[in-house]
């Protein structure tokens, strides 16, 4: 069964009641159809009420849902002819980032994305989607390859952050992230990045210097996790819920700040409820984005990307 989230409790309770009543009527020959219809109506309303009024913390939980579709889930549905390409040609192959070539609506493209696992075994293999430097260097290698063959690049962002480990530091985690920020700025092909789950700090941004940045409705993008923010700002990690609101990390927040272009709507209750429908929503946004960017020449693409990031900042100039 799909894991339920705390704010979904009332729904689960009502559903149980309805199921119980249904069972009862079939056994006891009492006609409760009217009551059941009423309850089912109430369920639909409650569902709308809950899912249309999600608080930032609810969205954080949806973004972290273990069943939430990952990069490879979307790749399977959205693209044809996907062939995964491995390795940074320098140190190794980091499976926390996947990449490859495919076609999207007949156009050859390069795909790169953070890759989480859905169970413990896969999460260990994928290092919970937290890349080492070689992951970012693989991403950069594939981006340069895309530039050479004039292929648009689509990035999926889905990470808690770059891995904070000893080996990662030794091999230059900082430099690997920084290099991607700089190199992405100069690429002569369209880049589209979509935050599909958690967009955690520099480790997320390293796939995010794009012409268009989109976010799934229940994804988050932040400088630090709500837990981290709470422990630093208020010395109390249990205040994460409060931090999630204060830090403005949801898709509607970032759209307001004009940091992202589009919010990709999610199926009611979150992307994990119906991957195929979710992929179709995503496809629509990607398709529109790509056809828009295809009209720009190399110089315009670089300028558009420059201006997009150049203007971010809030300050006063007296």
């Amino acid at each position: 069964m799909v894991k339920t989230l705390p704010f979904e409790e009332p729904l689960v309770q009502l559903k149980t009641k309805i199921t119980e009543l249904k069972e009862y009527t079939s056994d006891a020959e009492v006609d409760l159809t009217k009551e059941i219809t009423q309850l089912e109506e109430r369920f639909t309303n409650l569902e709308k009420d809950i899912y249309h009024n999600l608080k930032p913390w609810d969205r954080v939980q949806i973004a972290r849902h273990p069943e939430r579709p990952t990069t490879l889930d979307y790749v399977k549905v959205l693209f044809d002819d996907f062939i995964e390409l491995h390795g940074d040609r320098n140190f190794g192959d980091d499976e926390a980032i996947v990449g490859g070539v495919a076609s999207f609506e007949e156009t050859p493209i390069t795909i790169i994305g953070h890759q989480r696992g859905k169970d413990t075994k896969e999460n260990i293999r994928r290092n919970f989607g937290m890349p080492h430097p070689e992951g970012y260097r693989k991403a950069l290698r594939l981006m340069k390859q895309a530039e050479k063959f004039k292929r648009p690049i689509i990035c999926f962002i889905d990470t808690k952050g770059a891995y904070p480990g000893k080996a990662a530091e030794e091999r230059g985690q900082s430099e690997a992230i920084a290099r991607n920020l700089l190199e992405m700025a100069g690429l002569k092909v369209p880049i589209i990045s979509v935050v599909i789950g958690e967009g955690g700090s520099g480790g997320a941004l390293a796939l995010g210097v794009a012409n268009h940045v989109h976010m799934l409705e229940n994804s988050t993008y932040s400088v630090i996790s709500p837990e981290g923010a709470a422990s630093i700002l208020w010395k109390d990690a249990t205040l994460a819920q409060k931090a999630a609101e204060a830090m403005r990390i949801t898709a509607p927040n970032l759209k307001e700040e004009e940091i992202i272009e589009e919010i990709v709507p999610e199926v009611l209750g979150g992307a994990h409820k119906d991957i195929d429908t979710q992929a179709s929503y995503l496809k629509e946004v990607l398709s529109k984005s790509l056809s828009e960017l295809k009209t720009l020449d190399e110089e315009q693409l670089i300028d558009q990307r420059y201006n997009k990031f150049r203007k971010i900042g809030v300050f006063s100039e007296e």
Binding site: L181, L182, A185, R310, I312, V314, E317
Partner: protein
Amino acid sequence: MSIRDIFKKNKPNRKTMTSKGQHDVPEGIVTKCPECNHVMLTKDLQKNQKVCPNCQYHHKLTSQERIEDFLDEGTFESFDDHLQTVNPLNFPGYVEKVKSDMKKTGLNEAVLTGTGMLEGNKVVVAVMDSFFRMGSMGSVVGEKITRAIEKATELGVPFIIFTASGGARMQEGVISLMQMAKTSVALERHGAKGNLFISIMTHPTTGGVSASFASLGDINLAEPQALIGFAGRRVIEQTVREKLPNDFQTAEFLLAHGQLDAVVPRSDMRKTVGTLVKLHVKEAV
């Protein structure tokens, strides 16, 4: 203190000086080196570029001290001292903290930028100041650095930065994260036009600053023993559950792992960077 501690030999708070003794010397006249405990006259420490004569520990410099130490005398002209930090997420007390650091440091934010001459060559410099909100990067820091880079690009002169920062400024949320991208796109443009960028990492350079412009120099230098890294030591120790070596994330550690071009002591910094700049002077067309 618990009863048990009374019998311990090495009491954590044992003082080397009696409290009466401390009052004999007016504050600020002498300085004790935090590294080797060497006590010296503050005046002598200043004369030695704030480097401990006993153990070569590089004390932190304010941005003004750095400018004075580094550029040709009297050539510095600052940019953008009028930019003011606002409070985009309405964090209680944020603006007050910034204001108090403005008073303390005489800066408008955690970086000082401007033009000046280095051994006779024009350069644009940015000096981050760890005495201002730990040198953390919010909108104003990102904007000042970006404008400085753009100025260097426009003038076709080298851009030189001294980094000192705890990372992105959390109180500004995702906008502070985006300053990493903003400064990096500006550096890309600077570099694409064939201009030089030298990054000099000083203690401490971590987090988002380390993972953006600090690591992007054509030449990356660092001061001895400076702490440089992406993730904090405690975070890493908790993640990997092993003790890290003592020199972990020091400039020397980075040099040994191929992450730096050189570790340059403060006494040689002006000469070294001056020479590098001279070697990159573009011929007049």
